[in-house]
C-alpha cells in the first residue's frame, strides 16, 4: 500500500513539475517579448530594453526557469510589473480571503450534498429524487454568474439585506465578515451542492446496481440495511473521490464568484493580472491554483487506495 501511495505521490510531483514548465512557457516564452508586451507597441525601444534587463529577460530561458523555480521554493516570487509590490505579500493577503471563501463553502456543502445524494439514491424515481434531480440539473447547467446576479438582485437590490459587493480590505467584526461573505458563499454553495449531490447519487446508484446488492435484495434484506451495511461501505472511496473532485471544482468556481462580487481574493488577482499582462503575478497565482487542484486529486486517489481492501493489501 505504501508503495502504491508513494507511486501516486511521485506521479503527482511529476505532473506538478510539468505544470510549472507549461506555465513558464505560457507566461515567459509564448508572449514573445514579454517586456514589449507589457509596455505596449507605443513604448520607446530604450524603455523596453531597460525593462528587459530589469526582468532578467536577457538571460537564457533555462536559466530563468531555474531562477524562478528556486525562487518559488524559497517563497520569493518576484515583484509585480503593475505596481512593483512584492508578489509574496500580495498573495499572502489575498490567499487567506480565498481560503476563507472556499473553506466556509465546503464546510457547509459537503455534508449536505452527501445526505441529499444518498437519500435521492435510496429512493430512485421517487418524488424526492425527481425534485432533487431536476433542481440540481438546473443549478449545474446555469452559469455561476446567472446565480450570482439573481442573488444580488433579490438580496441586495430588492430586499436590501446584504451588500452587492464584497470588497472589504479588512473585516472589522464577525457580523460584517458574514455579511460580506454571504452572497459569494451562497452562489458557490448552490453550484457545489448541486454537482456533489448529483455525483453522490450516481455513485451510490452505480453501487446499488451491482450483483451483490441484487443478491441482498433477493435474500429480502431491508432497503436501509442494504444501503448502510452493504452499499455505503463500498461507497466510501467513490464518495471520497466525489468530495475531492468537487473541492477541485472550487478552484475554478472562485474565479467567477470573486469577479461577480469584487471579492478581494486570489482569483481576482490572477484575472487582474491577465488584463494588465502582469506575467509574474499570473505565473505565481497559476501555480498556486494548479497545486491546490492537483492536491485534491491526489487526495482523492489516496483515499481510494486506503478504503479499497484489494488495493490496501497489495505490496505487503
Amino acid at each position: 500500500m505504501a508503495k502504491l501511495i508513494l507511486q501516486r505521490l511521485g506521479a503527482g510531483l511529476l505532473t506538478l513539475w510539468l505544470v510549472t514548465v507549461l506555465v513558464f512557457i505560457g507566461t515567459q516564452l509564448l508572449p514573445g517579448d514579454v517586456a514589449q508586451a507589457v509596455l505596449g507597441q507605443s513604448a520607446t525601444p530604450e524603455a523596453v530594453a531597460a525593462l528587459r534587463i530589469e526582468m532578467g529577460l536577457d538571460r537564457p530561458a533555462v536559466v530563468r526557469y531555474f531562477a524562478w523555480i528556486t525562487g518559488l521554493l524559497d517563497g520569493n516570487l518576484g515583484t509585480s510589473l503593475a505596481n512593483g509590490a512584492r508578489i509574496s505579500s500580495l498573495i499572502a493577503e489575498r490567499l487567506s480571503n480565498t481560503l476563507l471563501l472556499a473553506g466556509v463553502t465546503a464546510f457547509l456543502v459537503v455534508p449536505a450534498a452527501i445526505v441529499l445524494g444518498l437519500v435521492a439514491a435510496m429512493y430512485p424515481e421517487s418524488i424526492f429524487d425527481r425534485t432533487v434531480s431536476m433542481m440540481t440539473m438546473f443549478l449545474v447547467a446555469v452559469p455561476e454568474f446567472l446565480l450570482g446576479t439573481l442573488l444580488v438582485l433579490i438580496f441586495a437590490v430588492n430586499l436590501r439585506w446584504l451588500p452587492a459587493i464584497s470588497y472589504v480590505t479588512e473585516f472589522r467584526s464577525v457580523g460584517q465578515m458574514m455579511q460580506a461573505l454571504a452572497l459569494p458563499v451562497l452562489t458557490l454553495a448552490l453550484v457545489l451542492l448541486a454537482q456533489m449531490a448529483r455525483m453522490t447519487r450516481s455513485t451510490i446508484l452505480n453501487i446499488l446496481s451491482s450483483s451483490y446488492i441484487e443478491m441482498a435484495v433477493l435474500k429480502g434484506v431491508r432497503r436501509h440495511r442494504i444501503v448502510f451495511r452493504h452499499a455505503l461501505v463500498n461507497a466510501m472511496s467513490p464518495i471520497a473521490n466525489v468530495i475531492a473532485l468537487n473541492l477541485a471544482y472550487l478552484v475554478s468556481g472562485v474565479v467567477i464568484v470573486e469577479t461577480i462580487f469584487a471579492y478581494p481574493g486570489l482569483a481576482k488577482l490572477i484575472v487582474d493580472g491577465v488584463s494588465s499582462r502582469d506575467y509574474p503575478v499570473i505565473q505565481s497565482c497559476a501555480i498556486i491554483f494548479c497545486s491546490a487542484y492537483l492536491l485534491f486529486i491526489l487526495v482523492a486517489d489516496i483515499a481510494a487506495i486506503l478504503s479499497n481492501p484489494r488495493l490496501r493489501r497489495r505490496g505487503h
Partner: protein
C-alpha cells in the same frame, strides 16, 4: 491519475453495446424545443432583430422597455434584445466549433490509443493527463495571457481543452470494446486495424460519444461565456452572451435586468441541452431503479 473519469465507465457500459431506441419524455421535448429555438435564432436572429448591433434606442443607459425595445436598453442605451439575437450566432457558433474539435480530436486519439495500447497509449495518456491536471479556467487564462483573446484562439483552445476529457471517455469506451469477442474474432480473421475501427468500434462507441458531444457543448458554452464574463473572451465590438452580461453588470445595483437577460439566454440553452441528455442517460438509470424498488 485515473480518478477523474469515474462517470465515464458508466456511460460506456450502459450504452455501448445496447441499441435501445429511446423516446423523449415531456422534459426532453421541452429541452429540444428550447435548443431548436436558439439554433434558429442564431441563424435568423440578425435579420429579425428590431435594431442593428450598435443602434441606440435611448439616450439613457439601462432605459426600461418601450416600443420596439422589448427588453430595454443596455449600459450605453442600445437594445438588449437585438444584442442578444445578434450574439446568439457568435455564442453558439464558437461553442459548436470548439465542441466539434474536442469530439473529433479527442475520440480519434482516444480510440487510437485504446487499439494500439502499449507505449503509444502511455505517451498520449501522459500528455493528456498533464493538460487535464490544470483547472480549465486557469489554463484558459494563462493561454489568453500568452497569446491574446482572438476568436480563433478561443475556439481552438476550448476545443483542445475539452478534447482531453473526450479522450479519456473515448479511450475507456475503446478499451471496453477492444476486449469484446466480436473484435477478437475480427482480429483473428485478420482484419485490418482501420477496418476494425470503422466497422466494429465506432458504431458501438457512437451513441455515448454523441451524448458526450451534448455535455461537452454545454461545457464549452459555459466556459466561453465565463471567459467573456471575465473580460478575457470575445472582445468589443463583437459581443457574445457572456460579454453582454459583463458589460451590463453595473446596472445590477440599480435593479436593471440588462445583465440577467443574456445570462438567462445562456442558461436556457444549456438547460435545454441537459434535458435532452438526461433522457439518454435515464434509460440506464431506470433499469437500476427497478432493481431495488
Amino acid at each position: 491519475m485515473a480518478t477523474v473519469n469515474i462517470e465515464a465507465p458508466k456511460v460506456a457500459r450502459g450504452d455501448a453495446l445496447s441499441k435501445a431506441r429511446f423516446t423523449l419524455t415531456w422534459a426532453g421535448r421541452i429541452g429540444a424545443a428550447i435548443v431548436l429555438f436558439w439554433l434558429i435564432a442564431a441563424i435568423v436572429g440578425p435579420f429579425v432583430a428590431p435594431f442593428t448591433l450598435g443602434e441606440f434606442v435611448s439616450d439613457n443607459g439601462f432605459a426600461g422597455a418601450h416600443g420596439d425595445s422589448l427588453l430595454g436598453a443596455d449600459y450605453l442605451g442600445r437594445d438588449v434584445l437585438s444584442r442578444i439575437l445578434h450574439g446568439a450566432w457568435l455564442t453558439l457558433g464558437m461553442a459548436g466549433a470548439a465542441t466539434l474539435i474536442a469530439t473529433s480530436v479527442g475520440s480519434a486519439l482516444g480510440i487510437f490509443a485504446a487499439i494500439k495500447g502499449g507505449w503509444i497509449d502511455m505517451i498520449i495518456s501522459r500528455i493528456v493527463d498533464t493538460f487535464h491536471s490544470f483547472p480549465t479556467l486557469i489554463l484558459g487564462l494563462v493561454i489568453i495571457a500568452a497569446l491574446g483573446p482572438s476568436r480563433t484562439l478561443l475556439i481552438l483552445m476550448t476545443g483542445l481543452i475539452y478534447a482531453t476529457s473526450v479522450y479519456r471517455i473515448a479511450r475507456a469506451l475503446g478499451m471496453d470494446i477492444v476486449v469484446t469477442d466480436f473484435v477478437q474474432v475480427a482480429r483473428a480473421r485478420g482484419e485490418h486495424t482501420s477496418w476494425i475501427l470503422f466497422h466494429e468500434i465506432l458504431p458501438n462507441a457512437a451513441t455515448p460519444l454523441v451524448v458526450d458531444f451534448g455535455i461537452r457543448l454545454s461545457f464549452s458554452i459555459l466556459f466561453l461565456s465565463s471567459l467573456s464574463f471575465l473580460g478575457m473572451g470575445v472582445q468589443p465590438p463583437y459581443a457574445d452572451w457572456g460579454s453582454l452580461v459583463r458589460e451590463n453588470m453595473s446596472g445590477l445595483i440599480s435593479g436593471s435586468l440588462a445583465p440577467i437577460y443574456p445570462a438567462l439566454a445562456i442558461a436556457s440553452f444549456t438547460i435545454g441541452l441537459n434535458l435532452i441528455i438526461d433522457d439518454f442517460a435515464a434509460s440506464s438509470g431506470r433499469a437500476i431503479a427497478g432493481k431495488i424498488a
